[in-house]
Symmetry: C3
Subunit: 291 residues, 3 copies
Amino acid sequence: MSKPKILLQLDGDDHASAFDAVVAVDSQVDYLLQYHGVQSEQVQDLIHGAMFTRGPKDLHRTAVFIGGSSVAHGEQLLTAATKCFFGPLRVSVMLDANGANTTAAAAVLAAARHVDLSQSQVLVLAATGPVGQRAVRLLARAGAAVRVASRSAQRAAEVCAKIESAVAGAKLTAVATGDREQVATALDGVQAVISAGAAGIELLPADVRAAATALRVAVDLNAVPPLGIGGVEFADQAVDRDGTLCYGAIGVGGTKMKIHKAAIAELFESNDRILDAEEIFEIGKSLATSA
Amino acid sequence: MSKPKILLQLDGDDHASAFDAVVAVDSQVDYLLQYHGVQSEQVQDLIHGAMFTRGPKDLHRTAVFIGGSSVAHGEQLLTAATKCFFGPLRVSVMLDANGANTTAAAAVLAAARHVDLSQSQVLVLAATGPVGQRAVRLLARAGAAVRVASRSAQRAAEVCAKIESAVAGAKLTAVATGDREQVATALDGVQAVISAGAAGIELLPADVRAAATALRVAVDLNAVPPLGIGGVEFADQAVDRDGTLCYGAIGVGGTKMKIHKAAIAELFESNDRILDAEEIFEIGKSLATSA
Amino acid sequence: MSKPKILLQLDGDDHASAFDAVVAVDSQVDYLLQYHGVQSEQVQDLIHGAMFTRGPKDLHRTAVFIGGSSVAHGEQLLTAATKCFFGPLRVSVMLDANGANTTAAAAVLAAARHVDLSQSQVLVLAATGPVGQRAVRLLARAGAAVRVASRSAQRAAEVCAKIESAVAGAKLTAVATGDREQVATALDGVQAVISAGAAGIELLPADVRAAATALRVAVDLNAVPPLGIGGVEFADQAVDRDGTLCYGAIGVGGTKMKIHKAAIAELFESNDRILDAEEIFEIGKSLATSA
């Protein structure tokens, strides 16, 4: 008989995310061990505790989920976790702090439903944030030519440099989108746009979007109005607006949730998975194919 | 197949109550997520995490229990929780900080077993505390004429004013019970008395109680000796003492526990319950009727 | 139908041990309630919460595990816990802070496999630490003549005095092992040695060990190299080295884990167990006999 599935939830916030906890339960985890306020230097005791208790053949029944509101902190916890392993003595780990990985994967999949990414120009607004950077990474690996937009041209260029060093052959262009005209220029000739900005800030006005004749798909990830892309609504799911198929945060939420659950399930398939943006996107692609 | 039943336990103390946790388990909750040190401004993230993870038809399988030793803090958390809902997008919530709601319900039900509340004078000792105020509210709604007692006449009057504004037609009288004679006067002509005072303080001496000829039932909620009502014992459950049927804290404890479990079960019947004193009392009444 | 088995994990550290949690799950506990940062003065609320919620016939389905990295703190929590009981109104409790009890039990059982303790001289290195002291106690009760070693003769003598007052007829000798020659003298004529020192400090050089002609068994409990006994390896399990059967930390780890799980299971057999070093050793002995 198989051992119960145990998920350690490591979270840097004052309370471990209730959202992540409910998703874990709904992904058929048997026991959830919630840890909050987790710092990098505390990860080893927790991971070793999870590793040294079960025999090698049962290690795939224990896994680690790293969440919390700060993606940067989550990345530090992931780095700390992967340093705790000894060869085959390891457990699977998933990073989805602030939902960044599952959100970026769902956004790119939404775009991929309507354009051939490898033949497309894609604009990512607020591309220097954690979700934006992940979307750029995923798009670049899929062969898209990506315009990496930020209000600051400098920060956009920094992100381009960072991702180019990680993704061989990435086709990235840093663009500044500090005002309406810059946004219009950035959008010119683009087939898809993903807006990954902070809550309540409009990055792309509705009339600029409507005037973009090449634009086939627009994905907005902001869940608090005003949305990042003018005229798009939360629940939009391939809604045609001025010739562009639009998605809102809730419109991609169903896909995001399916990816999250499938990724949790995958953690228990073997004891050697490290699920970050790329791996989670692959899980999303396989779901899209099988659906 | 139904989703597992998840209960979020929100508690303002350093540790989330073990008592509340065991009762949750024994109320057939499948997963208990314990959160301690919860402040009002942290409630939204927790409630939204619980709300935005399951579809509308499964929302009644997630619920929130608010506990902790401070009733005032629990009330703040309840207020914060109810502000997180969007129309039908909500989850059920129960407040039972310090057991105040289930205790007050059990005490009033014990009295109601032996007198017709709508025809009775009832004295509540230490009526300005959280359990006392809840007992007064429940008695007032049941139509009783309630004498609201406190050592301070001023505080008694304040509580009367507060409850009169909330309960239409409440028949309340503020009484001061600073000394033995005031207590005897307050008890004169009363059919039932509920003592809701702090641990270890006698509020009603045994001989004063024995001399109260109209008194049919006396309920003491103090679990640490000396008890609030002289001569009553912890385990008393309708024990006749000088012609008065007496209840101690353990004597009403069985009813309190049944109400607590029934209320937890009720949370999962639909996603729109808000269980505070009155609703929990109604659950207790239906148990008494069906028993 | 039996109530679910609930284990309260009380831990003084910033996070409740993941190791102890996984072992609890694998010991068929149904619900694990993890409490971290637990101080002595907070124990009563937690224990009473666990005690006052279920009827007497179900109290054996609730139990308490005390862990954490500090054995001294764990002992304080155990003392606080045992003060919370009222006659038959109690729950079972196990102490295994830092794994000290299960480790000491496994170490002494390893030695007992190869020598008759009641007829043997046994040396305990680093005997003044928490695991060392427990090993001395267990050996003394088994009738062994124990050499209680520390770099400081004074601290060794203090531990002897403490254990002699607790174990009637204990045959203890304080020995200083500050240098190589003292260690050789301490080892002379000894049949078994247990090394319970801090990680990464060699207490007994390989050549001194090899020269000890009476030595039949050597047990090293240090899991981080260099090990406490030169030449012994982590995974050694009765490996013959120079005529001595050697055990490393992982070599006794399997027994330690079996004892831990059997002890957790025992907690739920009745509501009156207090499992400290001696009781946990007895559980280990019964496993060895039945195996």
